[in-house]
Assembly symmetry: none
Homo-oligomer: 182 residues x 4
DNA sequence: GATGAATGAGCATTCATTCAT
DNA sequence: CATGAATGAATGCTCATTCAT
């Protein structure tokens, strides 16, 4: 593992354990010196931004794959919901970071926008080819599709519900009902 | 306005302007002394917690009223979605605080749990009397109902979509489709 | 118990528990209001001083009694040492306060000096009538007599030795050896 | 002088002048920045602890030397008493710190215990080889030997007696009388 | 006598950042 | 590339004291 990777991993650990990515924590957990962290990332915000982008890229890669595997509209819609829930389950620290680190999101700035735009476009493309899906504005489609999964993910990450697995089918079905053509 | 109220208002203003509720800011905006803030709230966390509870109480009061006005299932479901969106639109600072101040949510602790439980119970009661609504687990119902509105609220508060008004009907309808009995 | 007494007791409790006599603590423990404490004692230093004097008076009263009971020089010397050790054992919180509250000693000021002078005089009077005791300067006599007991009291109060009872005889004998005429 | 030493010296000066080791004082007197103090000592308690240990080590070194120079039991006992009194006279600020900074003693914690234990052992070793000294428990021997000197040191440091020099012989003799075999 | 809101100086601590080696 | 000493602004908190009721 390279120094960079060690630092990013330490930052994630640190965020998970303390809710922040203070440089002292990162230093302690990665074994890198303050100067080294600065050398590689330019500062605390740089670390947070890089981590945010790296995680988001990983998450989004799976979204595209899920769409690629879809054999019909219902399958695609359900697949996206399930993928989202499973990713959160398998990557709780990463999910927490994406959802809770407002500072990192800000720091990620432009690159984040670019990533989101490109994903939105990919999804929009796919939807366009699905006559079984009602025509909805992009953001509305996104919100109806993943909003419930997102909300339950938050609850699960906060320890307020015991399992995401058990709600997968319910959410997939609800999303399909909400967006399908009658 | 009592000292307490002045302090809470100042904290909200401060959060809206700076993203934090630093005591110096609260002091400046409320005109209260540090000691006075401590006297009434025991510290920064106490202020944040009190503000969180106060805002949440206001929001939840409206939810109960909205349910009371509902004349049938579809009306009730749509009413909740619309109420949520309108409350956010009319109270953007309050909404931002609820959604973004993780520290305040933690500080609000037990009282928050109690409020949420009691609201959940009220909604569950209402749902029970509606045969036109599919039977879903409490949290799933909540997530399907308000998750999309919540997600769009976040986007709107972040300035990423221009209007919540325009999506009200779409979200109300989508929620109804998702939860109604076939 | 009068308000004054409640306050003094609360101050002692507070010192024993926290190492200080902060007014908030005293307030909490005594049930008296800040204003009331000020009314009776004029401030935190006033409470500390009053407590110091009260405790010292109690201790010194016993010293005089012990001297009065002495039937000869050896008995008197041993009695003082034993009294000291027993008083500490029976009043550990009070002893701790006298030994550790530098602030209180300063606040006790003039009244403390007066008490000490009068006790010194009483002891000196007694010594004068004892030809079996070597002639030593006042402070040296005091130090040789009670210094060891004082030091072991400190250790015991700090939990560093298990029992004062067991050293009573040793210290009484050592004091007598140190001050007796050959 | 290294930064660390400058900071420790400033802390001692500060304690002597104000009775506390407030960080602002240390900063002012040492010229070091707050951050630097934290970098080296982790906080105010860390500075106090380090200073306490350093001073105690110096004092104890002399004790061991004094024992090494002793040519017989009486010489050794007297030497320890004299060394104690002279060290206090030559290092009044250090002595005051050791005797009055309860917070520092607490902060010094484990390292302090270790130092004390090792000194106790050295003294016990020496005593064992002296048949002219009565057999006394370790703490009792320590208290009888140095308790009086300690008590007079306190009085002298508080300005209540004019000279320690004049009592050296008295205390040395008294200690010897108290511990010698008949 | 009693109450408690209000004040503000004082203090410890955290943290991102810089820079000489 | 790496290290760690040094900096100082920002921040939260404690506490004795005052005073109107």
């Amino acid at each position: 593992m390279s120094r960079q990777e060690e630092i990013l991993e330490a930052a994630l650990e640190s965020f998970d354990a303390t809710g922040t990515t203070a440089i002292e924590e990162i230093k302690r957990r990665s074994g890198a010196s303050v100067g080294s962290i600065y050398h590689h990332f330019g500062g605390v915000d740089g670390v947070a931004a890089a981590l945010y982008i790296e995680i988001l890229r990983g998450y989004q890669g799976g979204v595209v794959q899920a769409l690629g595997r879809a054999r019909n509209a219902e399958d695609g819609v359900g697949g996206l919901v399930r993928y989202h829930l499973r990713w959160v389950q398998r990557n709780p620290e990463r999910a927490r970071f994406l959802l809770q680190s407002g500072a990192a999101r800000v720091a990620a700035g432009d690159e984040l926008q670019a990533l989101n735009r490109s994903l939105f476009a990919a999804v929009a493309d796919w939807v366009e080819g699905q006559p079984a899906i009602r025509s909805l504005r992009g953001e509305v489609f996104y919100a109806v599709l993943l909003g419930p999964a997102q909300e339950l993910s938050r609850l699960w990450l906060a320890g307020r519900i015991p399992s995401l697995r058990q709600v997968e089918s319910d959410l997939a079905e609800a999303a399909w009902r909400a967006v399908r053509v009658d």
